[in-house]
């Protein structure tokens, strides 16, 4: 079943008039788009003629020959919101995803730079806070999700622009939001060549580290032991995994979230509670013990066969040779399903 009442704007800017080009925003934006259209992900409706697009999603990518403008976004959203109101159909969620250059304005606000941003044209950027505020005032979407994979360093005189549409009065209905930044205020977000297991990821091309972890989380890695993926699960997962990934690239990056949504609210899923994994032993032979996150023994068997195929619940596990306290930690998250011990 598709979520026909969900809408999204996804923006990836690699080419700037005056800024350094970026390598990851387009592929990151496509990945987010894939998740949006995946029935196990966002579940937004696909376009009948082009299954890679959706009538409910505006995708803006900068290219050397095409420069997205702020009006593109404002006009599309205005038209969609007018349509929703006119048809009296109601709407559930609005997703906003941005990957490109950003500038931190305040703890809550970032200026998301559009390609025409220059030092003199320094306000040609979207204000995350102002767009969120106006969407909250509109009250059309019940849940609003902003994901922003961009730096948040500061430059004087940059605040970002509000949308061209506005509301005279705040809406009466309840609207809740998640404002999720790739990094803390006044710090950088990074893109690095990321080697992943998913097909097409291990091409060595740059990926935004935040998007990498976010997408993994949304695809089920963040789901709790019951298979449900709440907002709290997602935030906790990204908070744990993003600094780990950044650290592996000798960088420091800590995500920042602000929300009014209930952390227990499920964002997608549920996902399978049990996951099929294979553990291969480099040196077969000898007894090995597998313990779960509560240190309960799950398997205690000889490894002469060379591998175990198991159905495991989500969470951390510990592999150790019999009689040993030292061992190897694995995390069963549904993204990785092959592990090598030894």
């Amino acid at each position: 079943m598709t979520n026909d009442l969900d809408f999204a704007v996804v923006i990836g800017v690699e080419y700037y008039q005056q800024n350094t080009p970026l390598g990851g925003p387009h592929s990151d934006t496509e990945k987010f788009m894939d998740w949006l259209l995946d029935p196990d992900g966002g579940g937004l409706p696909r376009d009948a003629a082009d299954p890679k697009s959706s009538p409910n999603v505006l995708k803006l990518l900068s290219t050397p020959t095409y420069t997205p403008r702020k009006d593109d976004l404002d006009l599309w959203l205005d038209e969609k919101m007018n349509g929703i109101v006119k048809d009296n159909q109601g709407a559930r969620r609005f997703y906003f995803y941005f990957s490109g250059h950003g500038i931190g304005v305040t703890q809550k606000n970032s200026a998301l730079l559009f390609p025409l941003w220059t030092r003199t044209n320094r306000n040609y950027a979207l204000s995350s806070e102002k767009y969120l505020d106006e969407l909250l005032k509109k009250g059309i979407f019940k849940e609003i999700y902003f994901f922003m994979d961009c730096c948040r360093n500061r430059i004087a005189g940059v605040e970002g622009l509000a949308p061209t549409w506005s509301s005279p009065l705040p809406a009466s209905g309840a609207v809740d939001y998640l404002l999720y930044y790739a990094t803390e205020f006044d710090t950088a977000a990074f893109e690095k060549p990321v080697i992943g297991q998913e097909e097409g990821l291990n091409n060595g091309l740059p990926r935004g580290l935040f998007t990498e972890v976010l997408i993994n989380g949304l695809r089920g890695a963040a789901a709790g032991r019951n298979g449900k993926l709440s907002i709290g699960n997602l935030l906790s997962y990204v908070k744990l995994k993003l600094p780990e990934l950044a650290s592996a690239h000798n960088e420091t990056q800590i995500p920042k979230a602000m929300l009014s949504l209930d952390p227990d609210h499920e964002i997608c899923g549920p996902f399978q509670k049990k996951i099929a994994v294979t553990i291969t032993f480099k040196v077969p032979g000898g007894k090995v013990i597998l313990e779960d996150a509560d240190l309960e023994i799950v398997v205690e068997e000889d490894t002469a066969v060379g591998f175990w195929n198991l159905n495991l619940s989500r969470g951390q596990y510990f592999l150790r040779a019999e009689g040993q306290q030292e061992g190897m930690k694995i995390f069963v998250d549904g993204i990785t399903n092959q592990y090598v011990y030894g």
Partner: protein, 551 residues
């Protein structure tokens, strides 16, 4: 193969263990940094089971755990397998942290930095004699693996120091500084330190760096009988974001734990994390610190935190600070602390305008914010007002592009550049750029941003164009906001651009008086739809008239 897979498929079997809780204790051995270190303990399901600043000590069920240790830029994870009834004791000795200050506790600290810092914070680098009373100490440190130190920026005299009247006091050339260079053979690292020290009268100073590629100005205040210490790391050029400013009565000391805490607080402030450990607050209330900069930072942290009922406490903190230094009352940062305190605790707004920029940017910004409602706080056309459009927010310290010596005539090359930039851009962007260009052209050379300084330009032959982003941003703003007079608000525009209302008024005045918008010609706007342009020009002109109607 499939059969093998199936036969080797185990179903989970569980052997229950006793559910006695375990004890988990984690200690941070660097006691100076412990109150600033954040610990977060996750269980094996990625759920947070405990978090705190400082040491952790708690009961947990048996299981797999991951501890996240965060101390500013330092992040480390540790994994534990905790058995029922067991006691886990772990610790972290130190953090891999870098700083421009060569004090023990940072991995960037080496003897080849600490030794010259200790020696030359006590002697004048100009005369070689010992110093006493009020003084300024500048310490630049360089450390790179593959590149020997390039001292050309010292030879060229890119660093200079102006006094409170903006008269050149020193140009920091080779004969005024102490330079030590070398190579750490073990680590294969080239290093260098540059020290400048001299006695100074107490009061306001401006440290300026002016190279062809990078220009910065940092206000520095020297307190009576104290040494103001400025630390900056250098690579190919100074890394101004690494700047740290401290105070000392007896020169730099490599084992000064106050400086470790000062550095931690600056990093927290930089990240918008307003952390003021209880013991530091107690010390601040009682004036029990060796380094008054720690007291100043603690006051800022106190004001930025969520405390709203601490008026008495805050007054005690201020009193302790004022008792510690003779002339501290006159310093811009103390003026900012008084203003911020008055705002937070609903006291009367001080009458005094800001005499010079604060060292901490948060103080300067407090004056800007309050000047929207109380314009007397920033003198119209004064030096402080001229700083706002030039601010570079790369540090917690106030930094800006140096006030200009002169403006240079825009030549044909610049004009062509403007045309090239604007080619193909939507009309309103082009309009904004065109206006900016036109104003610059109209101004030359009669309007200057400040009284000419006595400092010769580092490259006087080079042509320099002041970046008049304010006028172009105002045009851009006016093109987007409503024509409703109630929404046309000078203060709102000033707040948006983070400049004073007077700056906005003056810029609007120039736009109106010079008729700059109406003068825009086909040279800049040849590709624009004329009808659309005429309408935009009329709209913006009308908005300017509305804004200035009551002024």
């Amino acid at each position: 193969m499939l059969m093998a897979l199936l036969t080797n498929m185990f179903m989970a079997k569980k052997i229950s263990k006793a559910a006695n809780p375990a004890r988990f204790s984690f200690q941070i051995q660097n006691r100076a940094l412990a109150p600033f270190t954040h610990l977060k303990l996750f269980n094996g399901y990625n759920e947070v089971v405990g978090k705190c600043y400082g040491d952790m000590d708690m009961e947990i069920p048996q299981g797999l755990y991951q501890l996240r240790i965060e101390m500013n830029d330092f992040v480390e994870d540790r994994n534990y397998r905790v058995e029922a009834g067991s006691q886990v004791n772990d610790e972290i000795i130190d953090f891999k942290l870098n700083s421009a200050i060569p004090v023990y506790g940072f991995s960037s600290t080496h003897e080849y930095f600490s030794n010259p810092a200790e020696e030359w914070s006590r002697k004048s680098s100009v005369t070689g004699l010992g110093i006493s009373g009020s003084s300024l100490f500048l310490f630049l440190s360089y450390s790179e693996e593959d590149k020997p130190f390039d001292m050309s920026f010292i030879e060229a005299g890119y660093f200079s120091l102006l006094d409170g009247n903006r008269k050149l006091k020193y140009r920091l050339r080779v004969d005024r500084v102490k330079l030590e260079t070398g190579k750490n053979e073990n680590a294969g690292v080239f290093f260098a330190s540059v020290c400048f020290t001299d006695e100074m009268s107490a009061g306001q100073y401006y440290l300026i760096y002016r190279s062809p590629d990078l220009k910065r100005e940092i206000p520095v205040y020297v307190y009576q009988d104290w040494q103001t210490q400025v630390f900056i790391r250098i690579r190919e050029f100074p890394i101004f974001a690494s700047t740290r400013i401290s105070l000392s009565r007896n020169g730099f000391m490599r084992n000064d734990e106050d400086i470790l805490q000062l550095d931690a607080m600056i990093s927290k402030l930089h990240n918008g994390m307003y952390v003021l450990p209880a013991d530091l607050m107690v010390n601040d209330v009682n004036g029990k610190w060796e380094n008054p900069m720690l007291g100043i930072m603690a006051c800022y942290m106190f004001l930025l935190s969520d405390i709203t009922d601490g008026n008495y406490l805050y007054l005690k903190m201020l009193t302790s600070l004022e008792a510690s230094i003779v002339n501290i009352h006159e310093s811009p940062d103390m003026a900012a602390l008084r203003l911020m305190g008055a705002v937070l605790f609903n006291n009367a707004i001080p009458e005094e305008p800001l005499s010079a920029p604060c060292m901490l940017a948060v103080g300067l910004n407090a004056f800007l914010k309050q000047s929207m409602a109380h314009p007397h706080l920033i003198e119209a056309d004064g030096l402080v007002e001229k700083i706002f459009p030039r601010l570079v927010k790369e540090s917690v310290y106030t930094m800006y592009e140096p006030l200009p010596q002169t403006f240079f005539v825009v030549n044909q090359k610049v004009e062509n550049t403007v045309k090239n930039i604007t080619k193909g851009i939507k009309f309103i962007d082009k309009l904004a750029k065109g206006v900016s260009w036109l104003i610059l052209k109209n101004r030359m050379p009669t309007i200057t941003g400040a009284a000419p300084m006595s400092v010769p330009s580092a490259a006087p032959q080079a042509e320099e164009v002041t970046d008049d982003w304010v006028s172009s941003s105002i045009i851009s703003q006016l093109s987007h906001i409503s024509t409703d007079p109630d929404q046309l608000d000078i203060a709102a525009i000033a707040q948006q651009l983070q400049v004073t209302t007077n700056t906005v008024k003056k810029t609007l005045g120039v736009l109106q008086e010079k008729g700059a918008i109406k003068e825009l010609g086909s040279a800049v706007l040849e590709h624009v739809d004329k009808k659309e342009l005429r309408q935009a020009v009329a709209d913006i002109s009308a908005k300017i008239d509305t804004l200035l109607k009551d002024e």
